[in-house]
């Protein structure tokens, strides 16, 4: 183009002015449309890039772990090192027990804590609890492993399923507290007032009206927290520790699926690698199942 001070502005403008009074705007319109389309394509590409690892993981686990996912794998104990075969039955059951212990401990504390933040205590206490719960939610899970190790394991002088469940429950408590608080806040205060106007006590209003209204949300929160800790490995490393046989009781080291996957993955044996992939497939299936249950629960709510 010509080296005029502002070549792009003067020349086309004068040309188009004859046909259209707002020629300048229409000249830009093409560029603006192209820019718009460019960013649209860019953002959709970004979305594809973001979800592609999930699909890659899924394809990898299905193709390499699917063949090892046999009935034996689900029902047998691990074989000694060097022998092929065997399964992860104890780890699968162990994981379920650990999550159950954690849920049993964390649900009452978390839900009641959420009630406390909404209904009881003075403003400063509530703010302190809410802030602390937020802080605890940000603590990396491995830290809970260390804390429970020095608090429980050192004192009991043994790794145990109980310690593992406790470590998981410590992760769940602040999670459940915050979700419970959120759903309780959504209950219209007219409900509360109606209950109080009938002469119900505070605890009756909370139990029969507020928690009854919000129960689906509370349940969702508990399930989400359980799904989250079901996949946790780090807090179990120094608490439940893992076990290659059935744990006879809760004061013994207990196997857990994520732990077993980790141990097998970093081992040098190809057969263990295959089992780790199959285990990961089972774990992923469990976690996805829980997420889908949560999803259907929340979808019903909006209907």
């Amino acid at each position: 183009m010509s080296p005029l001070p502002s070549p792009s502005h003067s020349k086309p403008h004068s040309q188009k002015e004859a046909s259209n009074e707002e020629g300048a705007d229409f000249r830009h319109f093409w560029i603006r449309k192209v820019v718009d389309r460019f960013f649209q394509i860019l953002s959709i590409l970004a979305a594809i890039v973001v979800i592609s690892p999930l699909l890659l993981v899924f394809v990898f686990l299905l193709s390499s772990g699917g063949s090892s996912l046999t009935w034996d794998f689900l029902t047998q104990l691990p074989k000694p090192v060097g022998e092929t075969g065997g399964g992860m039955a104890n780890a699968i059951v162990g994981s379920c027990i650990l999550v159950a212990i954690a849920t049993v401990i964390a649900t009452p504390v978390g839900v009641l804590g959420g009630v406390c933040v909404c209904e009881y205590g003075d403003a400063r206490l509530r703010a302190a609890i809410r802030f602390t719960a937020d802080v605890l939610n940000g603590v990396p899970s491995i830290i809970w492993g260390i804390v429970v190790y020095s608090w429980v394991v050192l004192r009991m002088k043994t790794f145990s399923g109980l310690a593992g469940g406790l470590a998981l429950s410590f992760i769940m408590i602040p999670l459940i507290l915050r979700t419970t608080e959120d759903v309780i806040r959504l209950v219209p205060s007219a409900y509360r007032e109606a209950g109080l106007a009938l002469g119900l006590r505070r605890s009756q209003v909370i139990l029969h009206i507020i928690l009854a209204t919000a129960r689906r949300g509370v349940l969702t929160g508990v399930l989400l927290a359980a799904a989250r800790v079901a996949g946790e490995t780090a807090p179990l490393l120094f608490t439940a520790f893992g076990n290659r046989v059935w744990a006879a009781h809760l004061q013994e080291p207990m196997a857990a699926l994520p732990l077993q996957i980790f141990t097998y993955a970093i081992s040098p044996y190809p057969d263990w690698h295959r089992q780790a992939w199959a285990g990961a497939l089972v774990l992923l299936g469990l976690v996805f199942f829980m997420s889908i249950v949560v999803r259907t629960l929340t979808r019903d709510r909006s209907r």
Binding site: R32, D36, F38, F39, Q40, S43, I44, A46, A47, V49, V50, I51, P53, L54, L56, V57, F60, G110, L112, G113, V115, C116, E119, Y120, L125, R126, A128, V135, G138, V139, P140, I142, I146, V147, Y149, W151, P174, L186, P188, R201, R202, Q204, R216, A227, G231, T233, A234, L237, F238, P258, F262, A265, A280, L284, V287, F288, S291, R295, R301, S302
Partner: protein, 342 residues
Amino acid sequence: MNDFQPDPSWEALPLAAETRSLTHSVGIGRILDQGFGFLAVGAGISVLALAALLGWELYQGAEEAIRRYGMGFLVSSHWDPVAGRFGALPFLYGTFVSSAIALLLAFPLSVATALSLTEFAPVRLRRPVLALVDLMAAVPSVVWGLWAMFEMVPWLRQTAFPFLQRFFGWLPFFQGSIYGVSLLAGALVIAMMITPIVTSLAIEILQSVPLTLREAAWALGATRWEVMRVAVLPYVRSSLVGAGVLGLGRALGETMAVTMVIGNRPEIFLSLFAPGYTLASVLVNEFAEATSEEHLSALFEIGLTLVAVTFVVNSLARLLIRSVPFFFAPRPLRTESMETSG
């Protein structure tokens, strides 16, 4: 006066009768009511106790190391348990560099994905893609690590890293020999794990922008991108940054997947192809095997450092997100849906 008595007929109403029985049984009902209150407050306070327990156990475990090394612990780069020398700098470096790279990769992708899911993508595709993003957030760390170990790292070693070295080898970050397991591999895994979190936060933030702002921009004849650029993004800029910082807080604490691919070598290299180490990884690898008192104590101090770092980053994130008023405001859409459920 005498005939001013409650109409006896209301006692026949079942609801009123029940209410009377509930309120007037003073003894046990009142005790139960107060007991419930104590339980609730106790549960709330137990959260404070949990935080105290965390701080106390970590501090007690780390006391010896704090006394012995002081601040030197954080700036010394020698970590040699056998010789009894403990410095956390390689771990701090590895943690921050891997998380920062992860955030650099994840943040633009997440915001772009959020934009496409709220604005650009075909409406029919939005829900399924959003469901996939949610599922992605639910994938356990160890599963990411497993995949990264057996699929991503070999691919990086054979294809991606040689490619990078060929074209960007003049940069100091892409020099040296290629092992596959490396800081960059760790950063990539972290990026995959934090994108779903940052994305769903960004979606929530973008949806909080008042419709009137968008409509005003539409009315001026703006294209979709211009609506974003002029009306939406400026309104939520600091919240989006806050979402990113929250992702950083998550990234700093990522443990299992990173441990499986970062190489676990407590040295500081400028090259991203070199193996590294993070605060969380050293806990995974050495905590169970620490035999000497001072080694264990140093590991507790590593844990304390990790908690402190994540605390600072998360607090910063919360400040940034709260600087936009929507987090205080009620969210009318969700309230309505609750009310209809009854």
